[in-house]
């Protein structure tokens, strides 16, 4: 039994875990529940844990629910829906002291004070037992019957025709059964959020961010946990008039994106470690040809195939230094779903403005983590129009015009300024992967080389001037400052909160932009803390090393996790 740290308890959150074999319909059940909760006005944090197989094995979907803001997953389980016996064996030790298990009485026949055995066979046909389970959970949580039924119906109407009624009836059977039974489970407190919230995971937010940013071309080769970005985009491609293309390999995917971008279409690729490795030659190409491209790296534990369906933050240094030679880049690392949306847009803006590759680093945890997300205010977004910026600064056009900012104005092949159809041969666009003169042709003139290297690197100054500095959250002049990046943000914040609630001075410094870094933004904060601890999802403390390299500040303490699971507040608290 896991003792939930009381600090976290104070959040008064409830964690529901639905667990079973792959192929048992666990995800459908979970998603209906998730959406209903978001619609009802709860905060949620979802953690999906699955294996590299399609049927069997053990998967789980953990749904943490609260009516106060929560940003992290937690370890303790309050309500376990076990779709198989194995799930009970595995998760019983994680049950909180008031936690309970719901299971089909055919699956588990023992008497256990925390286990509710539901007579599934009596309640509905075998095919619909997941809906029964859903009804039971909804009822235990105190969700309104109509609300859950509505979401369930929507789902089955869309995905599985003609089963909507049967599923709804089964849901009610479960719902009512619990009402008759003694419901020993505390109902959820009343929700606090207004309506209009979106149920989104990290990958969907990236997909939507890219669309909102004006992306026109996306190419991919399937790879977990990046694939679902492409799936979301494919779903919307026709409507949004964007090209979504599955390539023969990752090398092709990113080269297509570069070709697309060369014609003016903002483009993106998404992959994971091994696939990204294959793209690195072209990252360097994009740097050299000054072709904007957004690259999403969705991390999973390496090296190599590693744990292909789990999470890790182990590719920071690889991404930061990917590609041979030296050229500017930016790296964003969203800490939650909302940031995933906005940072993707920012990534497009930086890529398009500085004509260089820009990265969004995420990981399996965030990719699959649903959250209740504030609706995006699209009016805030100035449309990114690749044509608006283009102007001929020279005649004939010079692709690599040397400027103070290092940024050369772009036009696109076949078009002239403002995307007007070209009509003269002075409007040619010549790009080259070799070192080149301003006009884009290859050169071996070594003084031109120097000016081109300097021009390219100057762009980093501009990128630096628009850095999103780290978020400082917590008490000022803390005794201990947690430093983190990317998806570990939420757990670090909640861990610090818990410690503050205990009367200790803790704060967090969360980096959403990993590169470039501007020491001015944070060194004084590091120095002001008595104690600095880096919290990262890798085995070697990559970000802490980077901080030292860039600032000289040595973060000597680290809390690292590399077993494939996301960092949780408990994980941190156990190590402090």
């Amino acid at each position: 039994m896991v003792n939930r740290p009381e600090e976290i308890m104070e959040n008064l959150s409830t964690t529901v875990v639905i667990a079973g074999e792959a192929g048992q319909g666990l995800v459908t059940l979970s998603q209906i529940l998730t959406k209903t909760l978001v619609r009802a006005g709860y905060y949620i944090v979802v953690t999906q844990s699955y294996q590299s197989r399609i049927r069997g094995g053990h998967n789980s979907y953990a749904l943490r629910i609260s009516n106060r803001e929560i940003v992290a997953p937690t370890d303790a389980i309050d309500l376990l829906i076990a779709l198989d016996r194995n799930s009970i064996n595995l998760h019983l030790p994680e049950l909180s002291d008031h936690g309970i298990v719901v299971v089909d009485d055919k699956v588990y026949s023992e008497i256990h004070p925390q286990v509710i055995r539901a007579p599934m066979a009596d309640l509905a046909d075998d095919k619909f037992s997941n809906s029964v389970a859903l009804g039971i959970v909804a009822s235990l949580l105190g969700l309104e019957k109509g609300m859950i039924t509505k979401t369930l119906r929507e789902f089955f109407d869309k995905h599985a025709h003609n089963t909507s009624d049967h599923n709804a009836e089964s849901l009610w059977a479960g719902y009512n059964w619990i009402s008759n039974d003694s419901a020993k489970f505390p109902r959820l407190p009343p929700p606090t959020l207004p309506g209009g919230r979106l149920t989104l995971n990290g990958n969907e937010a990236i997909a939507l961010g890219s669309i909102a940013a004006g992306m026109k071309f996306f190419s991919f080769y399937p790879m977990t946990p990046a694939t679902s970005i492409g799936t979301a985009l494919a779903e919307h491609a026709a409507k949004m008039e964007i090209v979504v293309e599955q390539a023969e390999d990752e090398i092709s995917a990113i080269n297509m994106a570069v070709g697309a971008s060369f014609t003016g279409a903002p483009s993106m690729v998404a992959t994971s470690g091994g696939g990204f490795a294959l793209m690195t030659e072209t990252v360097s190409l994009a740097g050299m040809t000054e072709t904007p491209v957004v690259i999403v790296v969705a991390q999973r534990p390496g090296p190599s195939t590693g744990l292909p369906t789990r999470t890790e933050q182990g590719d920071l240094e690889f991404v930061l230094h990917s590609g041979h030679g030296e050229f500017p880049r930016a790296i964003f690392a969203p800490g939650d779903v909302e940031q995933a949306f906005h940072l993707t847009i920012k990534a497009f803006r930086i890529a398009q403005k500085y004509n260089t590759p820009v990265f969004v680093m995420t990981d399996q945890f965030l990719a699959d983590s649903y959250r209740s997300t504030r609706p995006f205010d699209l009016r805030e977004l100035a449309p990114l129009n690749p044509c608006a910026d283009s102007s001929i600064a020279a005649n004939p056009h010079l692709t690599y015009l040397v400027t103070d900012s290092g940024i050369s104005p772009r036009i696109f092949p076949g078009m002239t300024s403002h995307c007007v159809k070209a009509s003269s041969s002075s409007e040619l666009v010549i790009a080259d992967s070799d070192e080149h003169t301003e006009n884009g042709h290859l050169t071996e003139d070594l003084s031109v080389r120097i000016s081109m290297v300097e021009k390219r690197l100057r762009k980093l100054d501009g990128i630096k001037s628009e850095i999103i500095g780290p978020e400082f959250i917590g008490l000022s002049e803390p005794d201990t400052l947690f430093v983190t990046w990317g998806s570990s943000r939420g757990s670090v914040i909640e861990a610090a909160d818990a410690l503050v609630a205990k009367g200790r001075r803790f704060a967090t410094l969360n980096f959403l932009q990993i590169w470039p870094l501007d020491p001015k933004n944070f060194v004084s904060i590091l120095e002001a803390a008595k104690n600095v601890v880096a919290v990262e999802g890798n085995a070697t403390g990559q970000f802490a090393r980077l901080i030292r390299r860039e600032t000289g500040f040595h973060i000597k303490k680290t809390i690292l996790r590399f077993d494939g699971l996301p960092i949780t507040p408990e994980y941190i608290l156990d190590r402090i």
């Binding site: 090209v243 293309e245 092709s252 080269n255 060369f262 279409a265 483009s267 977004l381 696109f412 080259d432």
Partner: protein, 283 residues
């Protein structure tokens, strides 16, 4: 009317006597005959001697990576179907490093043209065997001679039902110009494999060697007959057919995206009203 001068006249970095010079002039001829203005054409090339070609032409150019010209061309064509997109690179680039893209491009059947300068050697890196090098071809890196049989791009392209498959010879510039013209005009993926003597590194397949063997396919040859084409494609040795070996009119990939008919995607505005509808999807 476009004239040949508009395509420029550049000093090249090629050896005197190299077949690339003639290919360059055939290319210019073809472009002019097609009435294409330089700004309507996008060349995409890889790395190698052949890949330098578009640097010696006035035109839009993306000179990318060794082996990767086809994917770049694919992305470009998919986002701006108004461009005439021509891939220009060597045998090593296209059939070696980039072979996977070659096969995919055949299947995808975008309306682009691929011109391969096939000198049966890796020239720019100083003469290693390429996939098209003949058995027994001796190089510094293959001192015992090439062991494997050569890759026959024509045969495989026909076997894969490529939409347009032609072979040219740099020594027959007018014929080659016509081939390129047909290839560009053809709706779909078109391959022009051009036999090109490399005077520095291929002392076997010389101008004379090709010249003696290459014969132009006569009027009697029906390039739409796949069976016949497969047989023709296999011909290599004492007699080497040049001309359009095979063609068909398979649906082109551009059709997969009906909205492409509206013009370059760079110009299509972000429809926030539709983004808004998308978001509703997640409510």
């Amino acid at each position: 009317m476009v004239n040949i001068a508009e395509y420029g006249d550049y000093e090249t970095a090629w050896c005197p006597g190299c077949g690339n010079h003639s290919i360059l002039s055939s290319l210019k001829k073809a472009l002019v005959s097609l009435g294409l203005e330089p700004y309507q054409v996008l060349f995409v090339s890889g790395i190698g001697q052949a890949a330098k070609t578009p640097h010696y032409l006035n035109c839009n150019l993306f000179n990318g990576l060794h082996g990767r010209s086809l994917p770049v061309a694919t992305g470009a064509k998919l986002c701006n179907p108004e461009l005439t997109v021509i891939v220009e690179s060597g045998d090593g680039c296209n059939y070696g490093e980039g072979a996977n893209h070659f096969f995919s491009a055949i299947r995808r059947n975008l309306n682009i043209t691929m011109i391969v300068h096939n000198n049966q050697v890796y020239a720019l890196t100083k003469g290693q065997a390429s996939p098209t090098s003949e058995q027994g071809f001796v190089t510094k890196n293959q001192p015992e001679g090439v062991f494997s049989p050569p890759f026959n791009p024509i045969e495989i392209a026909v076997a894969m039902n490529a939409s347009f498959v032609a072979r040219g010879f740099s020594g027959k510039t007018d014929h080659l110009a016509t081939l390129i013209q047909s290839a560009v005009t053809h709706r779909g993926f078109s391959l022009v494999d051009v036999l090109q003597p490399c005077v520095s590194f291929n002392k076997v397949n010389t101008f004379g060697w090709y010249n003696q063997r290459c014969y132009i396919l006569g009027n009697g040859y029906d390039s739409t007959d796949r069976e016949q084409a497969l047989r023709k494609a296999a011909e290599w040795g004492e007699q080497i057919p040049i001309g359009i070996i095979y063609q068909n009119l398979r649906p082109i990939y551009d059709e997969r995206f009906p909205f492409l008919s509206k013009g370059p995607l760079a110009k299509s505005p972000v429809r926030f009203d539709r983004v808004s509808e998308l978001l509703d999807h997640y409510l």
